[in-house]
Amino acid sequence: MFKRLGSTGTEVMLKVDGKPVRARSGDTVAAALLAAGIDHCRTTPVTGAPRAPYCLMGVCFDCLVTIDGVGSRQGCLVPVREGMAVETQLGRREAGR
């Protein structure tokens, strides 16, 4: 869905649902998911519909993901870090995460 204009920054490796995903320093988690062509980052608690980042500016909350074990993080506000573990959030945030 998106391509990179250039290749500035350094490479950062994430794990998304256990699989390695290449990102660049300066990416937010949501941007890294879009650049990697991941088609959705969560499903809704009400009907289980798939959602992907919508506003990328912290207001829509459709990019909610679990990051390093913490649920309902706004992917568009969190910068990527080497070794970060991102998980698709299915439905509600799990208790204790």
Binding site: M1, K3, L5, G6, V46, P50, M57, D62
Partner: protein, 468 residues
């Protein structure tokens, strides 16, 4: 900076690092006032100057000279001595000017003597069928991805909506090599008749020549189609856009649909603080009631920038300076300050063309007040029909609507449905948005975990109050 390193009290807290916040913090700090600026993103700039300190977009022509003007504002703020804290999420502001902020999972309450809220704007919701599908995003989102990460839509892109930003983004995406299949222009033709009245002012404003050049640049490369209806279709993912006008219905396969219907003030924090707001019938949104220095109904709290009513990035910086002059004058009456009159004149010139743009790009009623199964509240997946039916049953306002349908109670806290719900209730009940009002907002305005709250420092007195 860590939450633990923040002072527990401060002369001036500025919330938001866009043009208004940067200009306000720079002016106040230079005048000798202890100033802290909180911004939730990894870098300052807000949305208009997003990624200004670290953008990977090297070719300056892509984003244009207006974008790069942001460098000056950032340099000014950094040189001023203001403490700029990024990654700082402000989740609370109360009338006593206590600012609740969370940094890397640790929360603090900061007592401020003056507060300038510079939380800017967000895109007006454009609730069309299928707008929740992956592959449908706001135009602003695509612009953010371009500015901050150098990401360009790959594949067939369609843009739909109206407003200056739509044309600016189309030009930027084209310069960056994106392929735009079509722009679906939803601005009602009738708007021209009403906007023409404001044309002389617009012709004198800085936006006139810039706007014409943008339109020419985009229209030379992309077909522009006037439409009354837009729908996104696809199973689990956007695949096709359907659109129509009086002359018929059409469908177009595409990979990405970018929606835009202008921007409206991001009112959540100011509303939660208790600042009085009113309905703006020309911009069709709620905005804080402010005086000429952008002071609000709450002493010591000002709202500057587009958060006080949409006027654009350059005007936002001037508004920030005016608010900062008032804050400094209250804190430090002997401070040497710039002449406010010159700033007011520059602001007036910036705001001159606004009425024309507001009226020309005013969204059609059908795009503000959807029908049927179109989702209104994205978080709780509440449809237009449900909201209309509840209003017919006797639900009088948005707050009662929460009890009926949970709309506005999901994580976005009404940011993406509030205006739609207000307008739908007003229509069903033959009332008006000013009467119907908006969601009552309360802190925290951003989700914060109990663990973050529990990390707040506790004084001995507070501990003794609950311990036996």
């Amino acid at each position: 900076m860590n939450a633990a390193d923040l002072p527990s009290s401060c002369d001036l807290v500025v919330i938001g690092g866009g043009p208004a916040g940067l200009a306000a913090a720079a002016l106040a700090a230079r005048a000798g006032v202890q100033t802290v600026l909180f911004d939730e993103n990894a870098g300052v700039g807000g949305q208009i100057y997003r990624g200004i300190t670290a953008t990977p977009v090297e070719d300056r022509a892509i984003l244009g000279a207006d974008y790069w003007a942001g460098v000056g504002l950032v340099d000014e703020a950094r040189a001023s001595g203001a403490v700029i804290v990024n990654g700082a999420i402000v989740w609370s502001l109360d009338p006593a000017r206590r600012v609740g902020v969370s940094i890397a999972g640790k929360a603090r309450l900061i007592q401020a003597r003056q507060v300038i809220v510079a939380t800017g704007s967000l895109e007006r919701p454009l609730p069309i069928p299928g707008w929740t599908l992956p592959g449908v995003m706001t135009a602003g989102a695509a612009q953010t991805a371009l500015k901050a990460q150098g990401l360009v839509p790959d594949g067939r892109t369609v843009m739909a909506g109206a407003g200056p930003l739509l044309w600016l983004l189309a030009a930027q995406l084209l310069r960056a090599g994106a392929k735009i299949e079509a722009i679906l222009d939803t601005a009602p033709r009738m708007n021209w008749l009403r906007a023409a009245w404001h044309l002389p002012d617009f012709a004198l404003s800085p936006y006139w020549s810039k706007g014409l050049a943008l339109l020419r640049e985009v229209k030379a490369k992309v077909p522009v189609i006037r439409v009354d209806r837009v729908e996104a279709h696809g199973r689990d993912r956007f695949a096709e856009v359907a659109f129509g006008s009086a002359s018929g219905e059409r469908r177009m396969k595409a990979d990405l649909l970018l929606l835009h219907h202008g921007v409206v003030p991001n009112v959540n924090l100011a509303l939660a603080a208790g600042v009085a707001h009113r309905w703006n019938g020309r911009q069709l949104c709620f905005e804080p009631v402010v005086d000429q220095d952008f002071g609000t109904s709450i002493p010591g709290i000002a709202v500057a920038g587009d958060g006080a009513g949409i006027a654009g990035g350059t005007a936002a910086a001037e508004r920030g300076r005016i608010a900062a002059i008032a804050a400094v004058a209250a804190l430090k009456p002997d401070a040497i300050l710039p002449q406010v009159q010159a700033i007011r004149q520059r602001l007036a010139r910036e705001e001159m063309g606004r009425a024309f743009l507001d009226v020309l790009y005013q969204p059609a009623p059908g795009h503000r007040r959807p029908v049927g199964d179109t989702i209104v509240c994205r978080c709780e997946e509440v449809t237009a029909r449900q909201v209309r039916d509840a209003a017919d049953l006797g639900c009088e306002g948005p707050n009662q609507m929460k009890a009926f349908l949970r709309c506005g109670m999901g994580p976005c806290q009404g940011r993406l449905c509030g205006l739609t719900v207000t307008e739908l209730i007003a229509e069903q009940r033959r009332s008006n948005p000013a009467e119907v009002g908006y969601y009552r907002l309360r802190p925290p305005v951003k989700p914060i975990s109990l663990a973050e709250l529990a990390s707040l420092p506790i004084s001995d007195a507070e501990r003794k109050a609950v311990e036996r």
